[in-house]
Symmetry: C2
Subunit: 110 residues, 2 copies
DNA sequence: CCCGCGTGTCTGTAATGTAGACTTGTATAC
DNA sequence: GTATACAAGTCTACATTACAGACACGCGGG
């Protein structure tokens, strides 16, 4: 049984999809993740997270017929569901509550 | 081989230890987690995370001879190392960078 | 003594994270 | 028009992380 809360990578993936606003494709997510999170993403990691997130009802997927510039292949377009947003919000809130009063610790310098 | 980045639960545990400032004991961490993250914590989950974090060099542990009020048992006192703080900071930064511009999405209401 | 409580350790298993090979359709180069 | 290179995905296999609950141990009280 999947967990209610999101794993670390799942959070980032969900966030990236959200950032891509209306309908993200997997490769874009990968690129964004690499750029903003400074973290290499393998196909396996990405697609399995995406699928799991879909199963959990946090991502809605719509398949697209191949009519793109080049590849022209069935592509999957992802969109975060309200449940996904809620889960993300929960994760962030838990972090914030726990991190309350720790600003000094995190402040630069290190 | 452990990973460089922290898992979701590991982050929360580290944060809780940090919050307890000078030397936290496992049960306190558990309590804090339950209170602030609204999440039940089983012994297994907690202690294995704590140990892993220690192996990764993100927590420093000092054993305490039994001289406490009641049980009088060897207790372990945890403290977050600079590496731990750095890892936490990285995690938070990745989140923030990815969440940039999504304030509207997270804002209440939903 | 035996019991319960507080603190930890251990075993086992499920979910999550990762790498990389394999597939399929299209396009570009010869 | 066959070989090559891409692009987007699927699949297999395995490592790490997350959990639950049983078991162990020391001490105080009855």
């Amino acid at each position: 049984m999947p967990r209610a809360s999101l794993g670390e990578f799942e959070q980032l993936v969900l966030l990236a999809v959200l950032r891509l606003r209306d309908g993200a494709f997997a490769p874009d997510v990968s690129l964004l993740l690499e750029r903003e999170a400074g973290r290499g993403v393998s196909r396996g990691a990405l697609y399995s997270s995406l699928s799991r997130l879909e199963e959990k009802g946090m991502l809605a997927v719509s398949v697209q017929a191949g009519d793109d510039t080049r590849g022209g292949y069935r592509k999957r377009r992802f969109e975060v569901t309200p449940a996904g947003v809620a889960a993300l919000r929960n994760a962030r809130d838990a972090w914030d509550r726990l991190a309350a009063g720790l600003d000094d610790v995190f402040r630069e310098a290190g």
